[in-house]
């Protein structure tokens, strides 16, 4: 190219530049003069502020230890936590049974078809039958609920045969004129019992009770932890069942031939945990503060990025800002001023979108950086500021801006093609995008959500998270394997579109490319439609 040609091309380019500058500037100023712009942008900022408030609250409250396996609770109200009852082999649902409570030993029974059907002695009994008692322990009394006969409430028996003509509830007795009883339930007595046909009675004795000191519930919180400190993968050792609840009833859920252990599966380089296979009841109640702080922090960032930025702001901002970018000018007639200038209609659409994107993109960037600053300052960790969070926040910003571009181009095109009903199409599309976004989070490899824009933006975030925080995979594995309920596995799963390379960088590039292609295609459709539009 000779000097003249270069000068000419420079002129053409600078002129294009100036036109682009003028239209983008006009667009931004126009948007700034609309109330709806400020409303939608302030709502977005308000949502972020609320999320931050929740975050600050959660971080400041510290992470309360959570009893993942629930064995610190005293379900039967006998003063002993479930963990201690398990240790002593007493029932955690029967208040009469607790460590040191003494237990029942059966010594004999009359079955439904046994013969003879009567027995005498001084026992603890359980069943139904006629009792001719020498002595009854009226202190051993209860209610229908415990099955122990309530000796304070005994009525005369009805006429006829028990069980044939009438029936007693469990835990009740009735008396005959001669002082004998019909009993139904548990009782202690010395005497003779005869059991009717088809009834059952067993007898035995209670062992001697002793006092066992109840243990505090806190002993059974975080009592089965992970021995590995969660930092250096090479230090992973053998995990044991600290509280013995697996060893008490051993299982080999991971089928490696060793009951009550944990298998850690590392990636090819051996520096990342890819999968954790644990037997049941091993490491099931780890110390939350060690793992929950970090994974909750990450869950907050990823969740905010996906739900608030991509799916809320990403869908709503274009609806309010981009739908009328060109349509409103056409309807107002102000388009005539702009189109009487030497500017191609296709250029016009492009610069309009650019103006919208500059405004919305700046807003997103400011919001993202504010969120990043606050959370990285107060987030967990020893350093003053968590610099490793910034790439993720910037990735969220990038995903949101790409979504704004794609939806903006799409909505603007819809506004052009269907000026009257475009808004309804956009709302339907918005709902579609939201649903597909939710599907993408739960089933990232399903193929239908790939037809949505949000899918690719969420995948972009998944990819950038894995690049910036490679050990996120570990946290999701620990969360899934040991039940640390941080929500991380819901909000984050490894990116899918790696083209078989397993590389998050490939997934990132694929997502960016798809989003850009969608944007370009939508702009192209809008331009083609607008170019051949007659403007009244």
């Amino acid at each position: 190219m000779d000097a003249k040609g270069r000068a000419l091309s420079e002129t053409v380019w600078t002129r294009l530049d100036r036109k682009a500058g003028a239209i983008t500037e006009l667009t931004i100023r126009q948007l700034r003069h609309r109330i709806s712009t400020w409303v939608v942008l302030s709502v977005g900022a308000l949502v972020m502020a609320l999320l931050l408030a929740f975050y600050v609250d959660a971080i400041r409250a510290d992470f309360e230890p959570v009893d993942n396996d629930g064995d610190s609770a005293d379900w039967d109200n006998d003063g002993y936590p479930q963990g201690q009852e398990n240790k002593y082999g007493t029932s955690d649902w029967d208040g009469q049974e607790y460590p040191g409570s003494g237990y029942y030993v059966m010594t004999g029974e009359v079955d439904w078809n046994d013969d003879p059907r009567s027995h005498s002695g001084n026992h603890t009994w359980e069943g139904q039958g006629y009792l001719d008692a020498e002595w009854v322990d009226i202190d051993y009394t209860g209610s229908r609920w415990s099955g122990i006969i309530d000796w304070g409430d005994v009525n005369p028996c009805s006429e006829g045969d028990a069980l044939d003509d009438w029936w007693l509830d469990w835990g009740e007795a009735c008396t005959y004129d001669d002082g004998s009883y019909f009993v139904s339930g548990k009782f202690r007595a010395s005497g003779s019992v005869s059991v009717p046909e088809n009834a059952y009675m067993q007898w035995g004795h209670m062992t001697l009770a002793s006092y066992v000191e109840p243990e505090p519930a806190s002993m059974y919180i975080d009592e089965d932890g992970i021995l590995w400190d969660g930092e250096d993968v090479s230090e992973i050792g053998i995990e044991v069942d600290d509280d013995g609840d697996c060893l008490a009833d051993p299982n080999d859920n991971n089928r490696d031939g060793i009951p009550c252990n944990v298998i850690w599966i590392l990636d090819a380089d051996g520096d990342e945990i890819v999968e954790i296979r644990a037997d049941y009841n091993v490491n099931e109640d780890p110390e939350e503060s060690k793992y929950l702080g970090e994974s909750s922090h990450r869950t907050f960032i990823i969740g905010t990025g996906k739900m608030a930025f991509v799916m809320m702001l990403g869908i709503f901002i274009p609806l309010f800002l981009a739908l009328g970018l060109v349509r409103d000018e056409t309807e107002n007639g102000t388009l005539h001023y702009l189109l009487s200038k030497p500017i191609h209609r296709a250029e016009f659409i492009l610069y309009r979108l650019l103006g919208y994107l500059l405004l919305a993109g700046t807003y997103i960037l400011v919001l993202v950086l504010l969120m990043a600053l606050v959370t990285s300052l107060i987030g967990p960790g020893d350093s003053l500021i968590r610099l490793s969070d910034f790439p993720v926040w910037l990735g969220i910003g990038l995903a949101t801006v790409l979504v704004l571009a794609a939806y903006g181009a799409l909505y603007n095109t819809l506004g052009l093609i269907a000026p009257k009903y475009g808004v309804y199409f956009c709302i339907i599309l918005g709902i579609w995008e939201f649903i597909m976004g939710m599907f993408t989070m739960t089933l990232p490899s399903a193929s239908v959500p790939m037809l949505s824009i949000s899918h690719w933006a969420l995948q972009l975030i998944d990819a950038i998270v894995l690049i910036a925080w490679p050990d996120t995979l570990q946290y999701t594995q620990i969360a899934t394997a040991f039940g640390i309920d941080s929500g991380l596995p819901f909000f984050w799963q490894p990116p899918v579109h790696t083209l078989g390379t397993q590389s998050p960088v490939v997934a990132l590039l694929v997502s960016i490319t798809v989003l850009l292609l969608i944007t370009v295609a939508m702009i192209g459709i809008g331009q083609a439609s607008f170019k051949n539009r007659e403007i009244m």
Partner: protein
Amino acid sequence: MSDKTPAVLVDQASKWYGEVIGINDVSLAIDGGVTGVLGPNGAGKSTLFKLLMGRLKPSQGSVRLFGVDPWTNTSPYRRVGYVSETERMYDWMTALDFVTTLARLHGMTREEATARAEHVLDFVGLSDVQNKELGKYSKGMRQRVKIAHALVHDPDLIILDEPLHGCDPIARTSIMSVIRELGSQGKTVIISSHILEEIERITEQIVILHNGRLLALGNLHAIRALLDKHPHRILLTCDDPRHLASEFISEDPVYGVRFPEDGKLEIQTNDLSAAHAILPRVIVDSGAAVSAIENPDDNLESLLGYLIGGDS
């Protein structure tokens, strides 16, 4: 681009919207001077302008601006200024802002654009209010801002769609003088109106559209002269119509008189200019007190009536 190419060339162009005809088989070439496009509402003036500005695509025939099809190519707009009939503006902008922004679409830098905008706003007489928001402008001022934006790049061709519509008399006069000034600068100016008298005060070169058809094209005076040879009325408001009538009836151009209402005299003539020539003398001689002279036929409707009548 050859200078021989006319600024505007319309060749057998038609435009219809479904069943409705916008313009029908119009051919014309305009280059230089001020041309008035006359026609009642719905005659096709705006359709013609929108075809020229590439807003609409001709259903048949062709439209060229400086030899280029404006529907597919925006390059002629570098040399064209267009004042559309639209009344909406960006009310939150100042006039200077508005004109500067649009000037930048011609590829000017911000500084060039501001300087040009100040210049043209001064030219249309708005420099003292250029920093006021457009929302606070009167109708006439807004029309002048629209003209300013069309002039900001010093175009060779200026197309104005009803620029006088809805303006107060002062704005009207000032806009007319701006347009005459542009004409005298040697630019091609095309202005539409549905009021004959307005156009008459600006230019002699006219195009008359009616029902989408090109009815007449040429010098307004020639057309008027044709019109003058046909029955015409002059309406006088005076104190003694009967006496004045007797004075007029003997004059040559006058062939009849009527008394449409009290204190009014209608003179019927075949030669309007001759009748106007004798008018002052007869009135002075009669000593009658005449308070008003009106030409009820001197409007677009009667011109059209005549032209259509002449057609059939």
